[in-house]
């Protein structure tokens, strides 16, 4: 009897809990069902068990269908939402960033509220190394005939290129997003972009510079300027077409200023890279070792 008493108390405690959970069940319950319920959990059948399971499923579906961000920002899962792209999606986004189609918006057509950070990050990384390597090759080819030329893999340039490109890819979208949000508060427009979507557009628009940079190895100035022009036209027009709907309903002066800034910064990046990495200024570097070579004999005789 003592055993049963103990078990009874345990069952009652359980029953009270169940009462709290499922208020839809009537208070009048056959004792057998309640006492047998925890034992029945081992058996699949039973209406009580199913109801509890469906209750659990409702919970799960509510969590899943709701917002994506449930994870805190220091876990990997939070950022996994930003890498939710497949290979064909990345390919189509890259193609879309190079082909300006009037009337079709890059963001609406390709990104569709699934901005990813994979494209911007790896396109910038590829561009950094492409610039550094092509610059290296072009200076090597340019000074082939010089007797005092000492080939040097210029590693500092990788760091400079990385700083320039990554700051362009992140700071300019930040500034643009700030401007758009500020104007949004004054003039309501139909289209508004999130910060990540703007980063996405800028990142993918840099893709066209990769083949252009590889073409810069060929040491013909005309070819270099032509390739810059073509690349600028294509990606610049994609950028303008993307941001035109967001700003079109504003005052004309603001519209002109923003669009000019977008295109202007794009041009500045391209021309700046060409000037720094690929021009005659790089030749000045080779004269320095020449001077040192000439200087050392004098030091030794002293």
């Amino acid at each position: 009897m003592a055993n049963k008493d103990f078990l009874l108390h345990f069952q009652e405690f359980d029953e009270d809990d169940d009462d709290g959970l499922r208020t839809s069940k009537g208070a009048t319950r056959v004792t057998i069902d309640d006492t047998a319920e925890p034992q029945k959990q081992h058996k699949p059948a039973g209406p009580v068990e199913e109801d509890e399971e469906s209750y659990r499923n409702d919970d799960k579906t509510e969590l899943l269908s709701g917002e994506k961000k449930g994870a805190p920002f220091w876990t990997l899962d939070y950022y996994q939402a930003l890498f939710n792209v497949d290979t064909y999606q990345v390919k189509s986004r890259i193609v879309g960033s190079m082909v300006p189609w009037p009337g079709k918006n890059f963001v609406h057509l390709y990104i569709r509220s699934n901005p990813d950070l994979y494209g911007p990050f790896w396109i910038c990384a590829t561009l950094v190394f492409a610039i550094a390597i092509s610059g290296n090759i072009s200076t090597f080819l340019k000074s082939q005939g010089e007797p005092n030329y000492k080939y040097m893999p210029e590693f500092r340039k990788v760091t400079m290129a990385a700083t320039a490109i990554y700051s362009y890819a992140w700071l300019v979208p930040l500034a643009l997003w700030g401007v758009l949000t500020w104007r949004q508060s004054k003039v309501v427009s139909m289209v508004s972009y999130t910060f990540l979507e703007i980063v996405c557009v800028y990142g993918y628009s840099l893709f066209i510079y990769i083949p252009a940079v590889v073409l810069w190895i060929i040491p013909y100035e005309v070819l270099r300027w032509c390739s810059i022009l073509v690349a600028l036209c294509l990606s610049g027009s994609v950028l303008v077409l993307t941001f035109w709907p967001a700003i079109r309903s504003d005052r004309p002066r603001i519209v002109m200023a923003v669009l000019l800034a977008v295109v202007g910064l794009h041009v500045l990046l391209a021309v700046g890279c060409k000037m720094y990495f690929f021009s005659d200024a790089a030749n000045a570097v080779h004269l320095v070792p020449e001077n040192i070579i000439k200087a050392t004999p004098t030091i030794r005789t002293n």
Binding site: K4, D5, L7, L8, Q11, E12, T31, I32, D33, T35, A36, Q39, K40, H42, K43, L76, Y79, Q80, L82, F83, V85, D86, T87, Y88, V90, Y118, W122, A125, T126, F129, I133, N136, K150, Y151, M152, P153, E154, F155, R156, V285, V288, P289, I292, I293
Partner: protein, 229 residues
Amino acid sequence: MAEVDEPGKPLFAGLSDVSISEDIPVEGDISVPVGSQNVDDVFSTLDEPVKDTILRDLRAVGKKFIHVMYPKQSSALLRDWDLWGPLLLCVTLALMLQGGSADSKEDGGPQFAEVFVIIWFGSVIITLNSKLLGGTISFFQSLCVLGYCILPLTVAMVVCRLVLLGFTGTISFIIRLIVVTASFSWSVFASTAFLADSQPANRKALVVYPIFLFYFVIGWMVLTFSPSQ
């Protein structure tokens, strides 16, 4: 309380209807370990001579080197990961990339720290990338594979240095180009053989491309090494 007060109804009446289809056997083994000697002592390595410890680790590293040179679908590299091999390869490569073209301090070849940072930082970024894309491989397993697959490029570095001792000019450049290209493709092939299975099928190219870029950059550093005269 209701159950206690009901006289006629037997308690747990429903239980008699509950029948478990199979008998749950209850059996087991209870053994009390005698003294301090238990099963773990087989793996305890505190009492063995240092030579045994070092040799065991070296043998594990060596076995993984062989797995890299002949990459087939084996999980040995993934299961027992260690970072000794990558460290050894990274230090060797960085040391061999020294002593080059240092007429002027700046704009020379990569410094030791630069090579180190590129290899380790690059591996971490690629691992993070593959995990973010939904890969099922663990962080250190991926670092281990990426580090071990630098082995072909280290071998290429040794060959390049020997070639630079023997030949000069265009011939040496062509030989070095061929060697570095071959070893770079070997590295990419070996690492994708180990890593590609842990990725979802529609994102394989997205994961392989950064690995390609990583070994390309290291191959570029190996190829453009020019010794000081």
